[in-house]
């Protein structure tokens, strides 16, 4: 399994043709208390950069984009009952959705963990 990161602060785990997508620990820390996550329905098709999910905070909302193109095969139903999972475990149990990857070439140019850490340190 390989993990990729975007400059929009999403992480992507790739296993075969399935990509699991979430937001990074840095992102949840910046956002603060998450009170609701609006997730995409199974079967939704995204192009890279589409609005895919919405993170609701106490005072504001923040969009999450599809980091790559693909079809949603599963959303993390655990977030419906416990949106704060994103705060407590953003990069594991707090995942958002799984995509069937449409175009693996879109993964090229994304950051690995070391590159993302460096990117965040410079922000």
């Amino acid at each position: 399994m390989s993990r990729y990161f975007t400059d929009e602060h999403e992480w992507i785990d790739v296993e075969g043709e399935i990509a699991t997508v979430g937001i990074t620990d840095y992102a949840q820390e910046q956002l603060g208390d998450i009170v609701f996550v609006e997730l995409p329905a199974e079967g939704t098709n995204f192009d890279k950069g589409d609005d895919a999910a919405v993170v609701e905070l106490v005072k504001a909302a923040s969009d999450v984009y599809a980091p790559i193109s693909g079809e949603v095969v599963e959303s993390n139903s655990a977030l419906e009952d416990e949106p704060a999972l994103v705060n407590s475990d953003a990069e594991e149990d707090g995942w958002f959705f799984k995509l069937r990857i449409a175009d693996t070439s879109e993964l090229e140019g994304l950051m690995n963990e070391a590159a993302y850490k460096k990117f965040v340190a410079a922000l």
């Binding site: 929009e8 602060h9 999403e10 937001i23 992102a27 910046q30 956002l31 603060g32 208390d33 009170v35 609701f36 609006e38 919405v54 993170v55 609701e56 905070l57 106490v58 005072k59 504001a60 909302a61 923040s62 969009d63 999450v64 984009y65 419906e80 949106p83």
Partner: protein
Amino acid sequence: MSGNDDIATLAEELPLEALPLDAWHRARGARMVGFAGYHMPIQYEGIMAEHSWTREHAGLFDVSHMGQLSFSGEAVDAALEHLLPSDIKGLKPFRQRYSMLLDQEGGILDDLMVSRLGDGAFDGADIYMVVNGATKYDDIGWMIEHLPDAVVMNHMADQALLALQGPEAGEALAALIPETADLLFMQSGQFIWRGVTLWISRSGYTGEDGFEISLPADDATLLADALCALPQVKPIGLGARDSLRLEAGLPLYGHDLSPAVSTIGADLGFAIQKRRREEGGFIGHARVLKELADGPGSKRVGLTITGRLPAREGAQIYAGDVLVGEVTSGGFAPSVGAPIAMGWVSLPHAAIGQALEIDVRGKRIAAEVAPMPFVSHRYRRKA
């Protein structure tokens, strides 16, 4: 991922100034954002934790961005009764009232607190006023235009303003200044603490018991340190101030109140005492009188929301297919444990219990007109 917090957007547009406690906030780990032209602490450890702390203990808020004004002169009462719809002549020394500036059409230019000073406070001025930070310069311009020359207005730009709010605020402040224990809601007084002159009112904008403390900017750090050294007190950011005031059902200027709306529809008729309604003589009186007689076209209401998805400012409110209003403040209410909102709804749909729907990004969520406050006020009144 992208933030769309309106406060964050403002930060990019305005040249921001530092307030007296700027370094103090940063040293305590505050996340600073631009608001009303200043760097302001939006949160320290997180809005939920800070909100709960204030509801259970005492939170210290820096509201130094707000405008503090004093008024002097023989004609001051009459002049202010021309500008404000409230009873100023009947305002006793050391008493405070909620009021508003209205425009000629009766639209709301700002909401404010007005107090009668005493004991030579603020160099012997007669009246003290606190106005919103984002509107203070417009307010000053409006008042200069409409006040007679005999009234002297002073913008006290060198005063800081701190708010201590929560059920343990009284106990905390009394640990520093025992005499403040005698103050009741909307009463004020001048106090001396370590040689510093403080003007303290028992008021605030969270629905909790608490105080607003005006003091020279140079002494603000000393007092903030002394208060936060007490076990009851933690510094709290503006994020929690907003969720607290929304739960308390208190309107926020620039969101729930604006020149487009009037006092009666805003449910702020309590700020216009009987004599003023009858006698008039204030700017905007005609609309107030008309709405008292005929009812307003729409009303500010509280909204409870089914489910967990919050409705935000700007979301449209429907009764069936009919657009009947708009959300003006909305968010997750930490003490309620659910999303709540405030909005304006056309009068036929504004009754408590009215079932409505709110459009959130194309999805209709169920809402109901609810009584406010959402969380009971805990002001300290006479027993």
